[in-house]
Subunit: 92 residues, 5 copies
């Protein structure tokens, strides 16, 4: 589960049918101080995260399949929370 | 799930029987601005992605086994979408 | 399973319901000598780890779902131990 | 699933019984142009890969347990293919 | 599955009950030539590995839960072999 910053949206017309109607966002993992760390992940978003918003993302096949409602879905990464604040206090 | 650029094809005569007839492509994870990030992955492709095309790849054993139709397959990474556009607008 | 240092708390009002009432902490993986290594992880904490404390974190969907008591939870990383001491003796 | 180069053999007398009689090889993930990328993996080899040969390796617990025939095996990484050629044409 | 060098022991009084009585060791993944690569892992050890010994570690939830005998355990990484020798011949 990464603390990440939303960096953009991805549109894909040809995709696995289980992803139909799901928003896909590019999430850059960040450190506690907000620096980018590691490889960006594409995650499905059911929370309506805004661009540049801080989120928590997780990778779990079972939970992602339940989220999209398809037991054959290849989805893995999902936004599981929108960050309100962090402590110690680096501005979100 | 990575945003990635297709970099090449791999041919393997000796391979796990479940991969027979599947195209294997080398996918380089990239950042939102298109820079290479992290280690390239070999993915199975059922979408017909072209060389240098942007794709979304995911790693899920259950979904990959269902995709190839073999409950013993060691396949993990699959192309799950072909990227049409990204927002903010870096050309795909 | 990483040796990690607790770096902060994360508050998220909008989040997956299974995370309700769980404390989320940012854990920076560290080397044997205490240097940061790799990407920080957000973990759920049932041990009451203090800021800067050394902990062991693990990523297992099944165990995390059992810990939070929700078979649909997307939780993965959990604090599984609070480090008392290490050997050879770098101060904890 | 990584494109990788076989770098050596590992011999372990004391090991998990499920690995008995399996050859263990050190596989260095490589880029499309053959440069080393990321951390080497130890994989079980049922294909007889030669030192310096290019292979495809994958990490799947279920498939690895079926490959070694032991439902308790901790094996994960296996060689799933021997690379014949790549396109565009970097010599294998 | 990484080739790794044992770098230290970790003691944790407060920990998941399934880890009670298990030795936890810090394992630094290494390359074929013995250089550190990537992030150290904490692994459970049932083989009695000595400090600085070369080992093979693997990450599999199912196998780790069977090893510790607790279907709810969050354990993932375990030492699965003690390295005797490598080929080509870098001294172990």
């Amino acid at each position: 589960m990464y603390l990440a910053r939303v960096e953009g949206n991805v549109t894909a017309t040809r995709k696995h049918p289980s992803l139909e109607s799901w928003r896909l966002v590019i999430c850059q993992p960040i450190s506690n101080s907000g620096e980018p760390e590691g490889v960006p992940q594409v995650a499905i978003d059911g929370h309506g995260a805004a661009i540049h918003q801080r989120v928590i993302i997780s990778s779990d096949g079972l939970a992602a399949r339940k989220a999209v409602g398809d037991p054959r879905s290849p989805a893995r990464w999902i936004i599981i929370g929108i960050v309100d604040e962090k402590e110690p206090g680096v501005p979100v």
